[in-house]
């Protein structure tokens, strides 16, 4: 593993903050796309890094840190989503899609922007499967295991998501 990760693992908080700077955008992107709720995504991003700090002790460098962190982020978001014991202070809010406007890095005639907005408007189950499969590259078997659904359900949700997204984009 890299020197930075090794130092963070030994408890060096400044090393961990450097890891945060390097990976926060990636983690936030996953959380935001899965949750479609800015304040929730911000909280979850913080949760992910707090969990990462706690679990670094068991990280042995068999995978790249970024990969490990990404998996952790997906697990944290899905666990939170499934939890029946969610804090009631969470307020259901309509997705704030203006946040995606800052994310456009290339002049793509707004293609990427529209898609993120459309993804945010998907129903939660379809959104999760689309993001995990088409955006993040997970396989249906993994998604089914992560979400506690049948593989067939994951496939159906994916096709539903793609249909809804295509309709939204071609409107």
């Amino acid at each position: 593993m890299t020197d930075l990760v090794a130092r963070a693992r030994d408890g060096d908080e400044s090393a961990f903050s450097a890891l945060y700077r390097a990976h926060a955008g990636r983690v936030y992107a996953v959380c935001l796309r899965l949750e479609a709720d800015v304040s929730r995504a911000e909280e979850l991003t913080q949760d992910v890094f707090v969990h990462a700090w706690e679990r670094l002790g068991s990280f042995r460098g068999e995978s790249a840190f970024g990969t490990w962190l990404h998996r952790l982020a997906v697990n944290v978001v899905l666990t939170d989503r499934r939890s029946a014991w969610r804090r009631s202070r969470r307020v259901m809010s309509a997705p704030d899609v203006s946040v995606f406007e800052r994310a456009v890095e290339r002049d793509t005639a707004g293609l990427g922007l529209d898609l993120d907005q459309a993804i945010a408007a998907l129903p939660p189950g379809a959104r999760a499967v689309f993001v995990l499969h088409d955006v993040e590259g997970y396989q249906h078997g993994e998604i089914a295991a992560l979400m506690g659904v049948a593989e067939g359900t994951s496939k159906t949700q994916l096709f539903r998501a793609r249909r809804l997204l295509r309709q939204a984009l071609e409107r």
């Binding site: 911000e42 670094l56 697990n75 499934r82 014991w85 994310a103 249909r163």
Partner: protein, 203 residues
Amino acid sequence: MTCDVVRDLIGRHVRSTLAEDERGLVERHAATCAECREALADARALAAATALLPPSIEPARDLWPGVSARLAGPKRRPDRWRLAIVALAASIALVAGSSAVTLWLVRAHPARVAATTTPAIEAGYVNATESLMRALDAERSHLAPATVATLERNLGVIDAAIAESRAALAADPGNRDLAALLWASYRQKVALLQQATRLVERS
């Protein structure tokens, strides 16, 4: 070529990673099947846009201070002792007739009879399940999402049974057999939650 098989190939078809014969099979099927043709068109329409999605998005505000504040204090491993104590207390607080599925350890300590009226007995079970759920809630990051999903699914089954038994008992309050069935469902709930705490403890 069934639709299921073709649909599994759609993703790779759009990315042009299918072998020639598989590609042909997909296209021939899509020529005759409207649904699969649409599914293929959906995937094609999205492929370019999905590839352009930025992999990283900067949060609007700096989230590091919120993280740093929570790092204060020693790195936390699952709090095995607290969980074990809560699980044990839940067992001991239950009235006589305790389920034989509680920990072997508890079998050596027969449950004290804490109450004899139905509301009091129920309160005992509700306290036990609430304290177990609170303890588990604090540790749920140490459980895989699929495990949490299984746990919640089965808790749902038990809760439905509890609701039915309660309603029946409310309509027939003196009925000891109905009460026994209600306590049996509550014991199932306690046992399942204790089992979940053991999954965390042993991780």
